[in-house]
Assembly symmetry: C2
DNA sequence: GCGGAAAATCCTGCATGCAGTTCGCCTGAT
DNA sequence: ATCAGGCGAACTGCATGCAGGATTTTCCGC
């Protein structure tokens, strides 16, 4: 992703922003399957806007690595594989510790309140059977962290989360070793540490979270070597 | 920036890519001054392409934070100020150590050769009076590091370098405490450490480099509080 | 001469048309 | 049945037209 769109006074986003969020969601939920071809015209019809805003959204998504493009040959949804996921996590490791530490350092009281509300909402979702609502809520959590960190140049972590959520969604059901609730627990604890302004704790939790996520990726990734 | 464009077999880039590089260069060299308004039509005429590729380039540049956009009200070249620069360096700190370490770890022999050639070229430029060629060469250096690191998800560091180069260009001439050659020396040493595959050394140099750059920013940034 | 309203200009956001290329399918030969 | 070749459909990349809104200029009252 890119720098967040400036606060919109009117509450109306551009159609391109709408298309971005809509397509990102389609990819993360795999309603658009990994490897699927995406066409400007097709998505324009599906979303109900013209080709231009869809094209702009697609280019941003390609820049984020969520779609892959071969010039002149169209775009596809990025495939899911362990090697790519490890690269995503490598980049997340670089950014995530800084993100949560700065968020803990700089969050305003109002942001702390919102973080606690987010944590409470995660608790409510803790044991839901359908994980998709929690995933969508997670996206808002990251937006909030980024806002609290007060550094828009860290925004490139956002699409990395999108790819991570998709990876998890694609694999969590096929194994029992990693409890989905554990992920949610990390989110809760990180949200609360940041809300409390505990920089060291937030950073340590982020590191531990990434260890957990990477272990999950490597564990389920064993399957990825052999054809499903 | 965004993920690099896939290798183009024909050597011809899209007009949007051309526009991106051209405008980035205009901004870094401040031929487009900080705070200047940029319009699609004006740049389209200046570059000699239509509005569409220019618009695509502008949106990428805005996503990179090189331009700032107020929706419906047009885009401006980002102003230069210390607070923003410190945020840029914060993000660079998060990414840069990982970038050079992984590049040292994964560079191919051919990439090592190219890195040594880059270092030699930096040596040649070491004491040139005009710094702009060195800046342009620096951009190629970062592209090469990114290629060697074999992780396209680290590409978001590229626009951070662009902003850093502009900051340096805007201020280096107004002081004598920081020798421009010192920057070049860091580049040379980092290139050679990465070429040699010395991960620890490359990482240490990157950290030291950032300390140096941040000290420079804070030093010249004292001026920024008072009107020039 | 100055402040403020109205008009003209400029600009963005979006839709759409067009050209050139790529892809997929169909046909036919082996 | 398999594969090569060719044709048609579809798609991308780009230019351009249009509408709504913002900005600047102009003009009028004071």
């Amino acid at each position: 992703m890119t720098l967040p769109v400036p606060p919109d006074p009117d509450g109306d986003q551009s159609l391109a922003d709408l298309a971005y969020r809509r397509i990102e969601d389609l990819v993360v939920t795999m309603e658009l399957a990994p490897g699927a071809r995406v066409s400007e015209h097709g998505l324009a019809e599906r979303i109900g806007v013209g080709r231009t805003p869809v094209r702009e959204a697609l280019q941003r998504l390609a820049g984020d690595g969520i779609l892959v493009t071969r010039p002149r040959r169209g775009m596809r949804v990025r495939e899911i594989d362990l090697a790519t996921q490890l690269r995503v996590l490598e980049a997340r490791r670089a950014l995530e510790s800084t993100l949560v530490r700065r968020a803990a350092l700089r969050r305003t009281p109002a942001q702390a309140d919102r973080l606690r509300a987010v944590a409470a909402e995660f608790r409510r979702m803790r044991d839901a059977s359908d994980p998709v609502p929690a995933l969508r809520h997670d996206r808002g959590f990251v937006d909030l962290l980024l806002e609290a960190a007060a550094n828009p140049f860290l925004a490139s972590i956002i699409p990395l989360y999108a790819l991570s959520r998709r990876f998890w969604l694609a694999h969590y059901a096929r194994q029992t070793r990693f409890d989905p609730g554990a992920i949610t627990d990390f989110h809760i604890r990180i949200a609360e540490a940041v809300a409390a302004g505990d920089e060291a704790e937030a950073g340590a939790l982020a590191d531990a979270f990434l260890d957990h996520v990477e272990a999950f990726a490597r564990f389920v990734g064993l399957d990825l070597a052999v054809p499903a």
